[in-house]
Amino acid sequence: MNYFDHAATTPMRAEVLEAMTPYLLEQYGNPSSIHGIGRTARAALDASRRTLATWIGATPNEIVFTSGGTESDNYALFGTVYANQHKGKHVITTKIEHHAVLHAMEQLEREGFDVTYLDVDETGAVTLESVRDALRDDTILVSVMYGNNEVGTIQPIEQIGALLADHQAYFHTDAVQALGTETIDVKVLGIDLLSASAHKINGPKGIGFLFIKTGVKLATRSFGGQQERKRRAGTENVPGAVGFQQAAELAKIERAERVNVYQQMAEALFGRLDELGVEYDVNGANRLPHIVNLYLPGIELEPFLIMMDMRGFAISSGSACTAGSIEPSHVLTAMFGTSDRTKQSVRISFGHGNSVEDVERLAERLSEVVSTFTNGVR
């Protein structure tokens, strides 16, 4: 299988597994326990917390472990609005957020909050002006993702952070897709809340964190034990945290190199497609380097993806409904309206394990499958 769907999830690195293994087999203690094995687990958890905090320019007590990006987003949104609803009921977000944010926002609306969904331009970016225009005295939260998971477009996070510096609204960003390739310092960027997940950066599934800036009030949504300073009850996922730590360390060391490699891969993809005479356009601009969303005029999405799968190439598009059929992407719809472009675009996402040669082969398969649609050949 040639895997080009790293924006969906990534393979775990061997180093990560190696780091985790002792905490699954030998150091299996509960960090809350008062005995030695518990203390060992606690020490590992805190070490992970320190590494992750440093990674984004935070302090360890600002990091709350969660089960992943979705839980982090949900906690950030519901936690802030319920702790701050006395200051207002208005929330701002964008039309291109991950469903973990969008569907949570829809629920907030049902619960009586007033949500503004900002439009994006044709590159998939929100403008600072649109945030400024939407901002009201009773706005309590602004949630804008760092880099989009479908088209990769990086949002004006620093400017929004600066804009909100002297406003009561908290600033949340879902950085799940961006953490592997971007340097993020929450203090520099003016971020109050940030969601992260391990499995998008070659870490294990089932672990993520929410950065909560000191002083930000969140209503607790999870009751039970006193873990995570009573912010998230439940026995901590110590092996997961250790794995996340290792994955973050690798990401930090290799970041510049990965960015460079992904840029080469994108160039190789475009170059080969050009050589093969494939008509295409890239959706999104100022992209996260590992995500390339291609508009391939004339294709039909469902058979296209099946044919790529049959050739052993994993790529993706939009999202599937619960009955499996592919729905037009809300991100592309926000960018292009009801244009056919939303139904003729696929996402390719690079990652660890891909080579430039793999990408050239991918381009060849794409060309072959595109031609079955554009040449009327069966």
């Binding site: 469902e302 058979p303 099946i306 044919m307 799968d309 049959m310 599937a320 409904c321 619960t322 009955a323 499996g324 059929s325 592919i326 079955t372 069966r378």
Partner: protein, 373 residues
Amino acid sequence: MNLRTKAPAETTVVVGMSGGVDSSVTAHLLKEQGYNVIGIFMKNWDDTDENGVCTATEDYEDVIAVANQIGIPYYAVNFEKEYWDRVFEYFLAEYRLGRTPNPDVMCNKEIKFKAFLDHALRLGADFVATGHYARVEYVDGEHRLLRGKDDNKDQTYFLNQLSQDQLARTMFPIGHMDKKDVRVIAEEAGLATAKKKDSTGICFIGERNFKEFLSEYLPSQPGIMQTLDGEQKGNHDGLMYYTLGQRHGLGIGGDGDPWFVVGKNVEENILYVGQGFHHDALYSDALLASKLSWTGAVPTGEFRATAKFRYRQQDVPVTIAPLENGEVLVKFDEPQRAITPGQAVVFYDGDICLGGATIDEAYRNGKRLDYIG
């Protein structure tokens, strides 16, 4: 062209998997026989439950479970637009005319063996396979559509519109089996759907109330219920809710035999009723049908065969006369009850399903029964 001689290992078959036991066993058998099998779930209807979950979800979940058990790739494909345009619009149009359409016949003709078949061929498949109780055999240079071996389950009635081109690309791997044996195979293979209840009714309506469903799409126009002699017997809820020969839901009591629907006057919105199952007005000795289609060679001139006028009915001897305008006149040896416009008339020569057409008119003694709508 006969692809059936191709070695299984070199033959790719796309199975239309519905999440039911029949299509599960279909995929399982083909895989056992060594074919390259791909399971595809068709999502033909856009509907969500009170929690916003697609109603097709449970069925798709079953497709996933079975495909993983068998060890085949699975996908879903969306034919909602095709289904709406080519099946549902027809379905509504027929009801507007006071007729009783057969959406399953249309679904096979336009979706399963057209849109879906085209989709499969584009993927590079040699065949599509479904869990229908019917058989296809290549005899004398012709792909013959044959009745399913299980008399109770034979589904050729719904497949009557298939052409040679469609049949050439079709497999019905359970057509030679009895339903109970299909269940046994499913159980022996431990398939997740082995004990799943068979679906009933029209697929897009499911278990819902038919009347309520139809009223969401067509305005119901209540009117008068009367005998053919003009005696008013009550009121009806809308002609589309009734079909010829129907007994239930009339709400006419009183002495004597039960009452039945014997006709409709669409212009004046009148439902005709008559007393007794064998009411004379329900009987005819010939019919005229259109949208004629043959599964094999097109017959020239009049010929003898048998015919069915509705599903789950014994076929009866008839004389078939194709007309020059593409319609067909079918004369029955014995008068038949409740020949219903909109339903299919399907022709057989022994086990061979020859084709069929859509019933438009019924006749008795050369006179058209204008009261049946």
